[in-house]
Amino acid sequence: MFSLNYIIKRVVSAFIVVLGILVLTYILIYFSPGNPAYTWAGRPRGPRAEEAIKAAESELGLDKPLYLQIYIHINRFFKGDWGISLRFKQPVISVITRNLVASLELLIVAFFIAIPLGIFLGVMSALYRGYLVDKVLYTISALFISFPRFWIAILLSVFLQMLGVNLFGRIAPSYMLVIESVSGSYIIDSIISGKAEIFIDALIRILPPAIIVALYPMSLTVRVLRYSLSEKLYEEYVKQAISFGLPRSRVVYRYALRGMVPAISQLHGITFAYSIVDVATVENIFGRDGIGSTIVKAIPYNDYPLIIGLLALTGILFIVVNTISDIIQIVSDPRVRI
């Protein structure tokens, strides 16, 4: 296929960016004010500080030349040895993967809500621009974009609490021991082990935060479609389809909206990265595990290895998402040939 070549090229350049991120994380360590080993050890104080700094120094290989240090850093990264988290006293890689899966679960559910709903409402808004439907949709999306999601989440959680509904955590504590962790995502795990009640519990608990995280990508889709779909409806080929007498739904969805797929794919590649901040804040409010709560726990302990590992892994996640969205963009347009 014509696109295979492109995909290979894209993956190679993505890999270069991954290396760039690793170098950057090392630079962050190296140029941290004071002694890098001191930062890496989490600014220890007290009698055992000397020892901890010594250990960190040998771990980073600070006595070697800089390029070797970077090489050691990258090498250790690919071996999965990212150091020990100071807060959790566990290997960084296991802490991060556990929490990243939890966050991804939330993010993906949110996007499953946001994309179809956003497209549907955006089409409505574009078709009746300036009329009541559109005005209502515009107002709603402007509010959802401008209201901080953590604030909406606070209001919702207080409201739920007033109703006496307890949806905190990712899963009811009593189920926690019953389920065995395979993927780290309770939704997938419960399907694998075939426990319907756990599945429903996990789903109900993920819905309120997921809806809140979905607000931003959904509203953004509505706004983008509102602006550009009505422009698309003026394209000559859409006009011609109308002249050929195609029914309205076909013209709108198969002709006009089809032309928006690359733009929508690009948009969601971007909002995926933006929404991770929302995920982090909303997780904290709903008492869920995830990178948000990891960061919150890491900051007071100056848990530098954990944060650096998180930086590298989230960066890599974004690269993957960007690459996928670029590939969708290219493949969905038959005019582009590589």
Binding site: S243, F244, G245, L246, R254, R258, G259, S332, P334
Partner: protein
């Protein structure tokens, strides 16, 4: 023959006004025109840029943008589509009227293969037909315009301009509507493709359909069409049988157009068109060599014989 032709009118415009809403005013593109288009003829509309030809074609084909405002009355195939400010094109588009686009490459959906475009369009037109039947119609239409069958598997961007023009005509043939509106069908084709397009359009007329051709090209019009209407600044200034209009033009503007086509620019005055502020004046007044005081009043279209009409106070005298 003539009587029969004049009896059956497929497009009838009566005092039709069409304008576009601007910021705070309406820009009138058609200022109260009257046109009757007889069935099974090739009817041509010529006129300079901005005179409202496309607007009229879109009004017939039902492609006016949503911010268009209308007055008067337009009947297509005995269905009133424009009545005052109301528009209703249900059942017209794709069944009775189809527009052949000016720029065919841009008018095919770039994301669909030609085959699925055909299928989309035809399954809508002939709901009762089976897939095989639709494919048969498609292949016949493709054959009628001399395209290879494998074109159905291609994307629009893989076609040349002439090929996509023929695809558009094949689509029209397959739909088989009563009225075909061709908006500048030849404006960006070379001489040879112009000839083939001409033949295809003739074939449409011969099969008993009505063809409305909008063009700048008065030569092309003279070869293809039996009727011609000359438009100027949103008014029909002259209308009639092609031979009559071209051999004995009555309106000074028609004369100007014919002279221009013959590369004879001796009598042309280069004057800017006035803004359309004064709708009560003859629109051509500021450019007219035969200006008289009466021209400050707008002339009505008056017929000198059964089919030849002119809107001018001082029509040219052709000896």
């Amino acid at each position: 023959m003539e009587a029969m032709v004049l009896n059956e009118i497929v497009v009838r415009a009566r005092n039709l006004w069409i304008g576009y809403e601007e910021e705070d005013r309406v820009l009138w593109a058609l200022n109260g025109i009257d046109i009757d288009i007889p069935k099974a003829t090739a009817f041509c509309i010529v006129g300079e840029s901005g005179s409202g030809k496309t607007t009229f074609g879109n009004a017939v084909a039902g492609l006016l943008p949503p911010y268009a405002v209308t007055k008067g009355c337009l009947e297509v195939h005995n269905i009133t589509v424009i009545d005052g400010s109301r528009m209703n094109y249900s059942g017209i588009r794709g069944n009775i009227v189809v527009r052949i686009p000016q720029n065919p490459i841009a008018t095919l959906n770039p994301y669909l293969k030609i085959g699925s475009i055909f299928f989309d369009v035809l399954s809508q037109r002939f709901r009762a037909y089976s897939k095989a039947k639709i494919l048969e119609i498609t292949l016949n239409a493709i054959k009628a315009v001399d395209l290879p069958d494998d074109i159905l598997n291609r994307y629009p961007h893989q076609l040349s301009g002439g090929m996509s023009q023929r695809v558009a005509i094949a689509l029209t043939i397959a739909i088989n509507p009563e009225i075909v509106v061709a908006d500048e069908p030849t404006s960006n084709l070379d001489a040879y493709l112009k000839g083939t397009t001409l033949n295809l359009l003739r074939g449409i007329v011969r099969s008993g359909k009505t063809l409305i051709v909008i063009t700048h090209d008065i030569l092309f019009a003279s070869v293809l069409c039996n009727f011609i209407a000359v438009m100027f600044m949103g008014n029909v200034v002259e209308i009639g049988k092609t031979e009559e209009v071209l051999s004995k033009p009555l309106h000074p503007y028609t004369k100007e157009l014919i002279d221009a086509a013959n590369l004879d620019f001796k009598n042309i005055r280069y004057a800017n068109n006035k803004l359309k502020a004064d709708l009560n004046e003859c629109a051509y007044a500021s450019r007219c060599t035969y200006y008289s005081n009466r021209c400050s009043e707008k002339p009505k279209l008056s017929y000198i014989n059964k089919s030849h009409g002119v809107a001018c106070w001082n029509p040219l005298k052709n000896s």
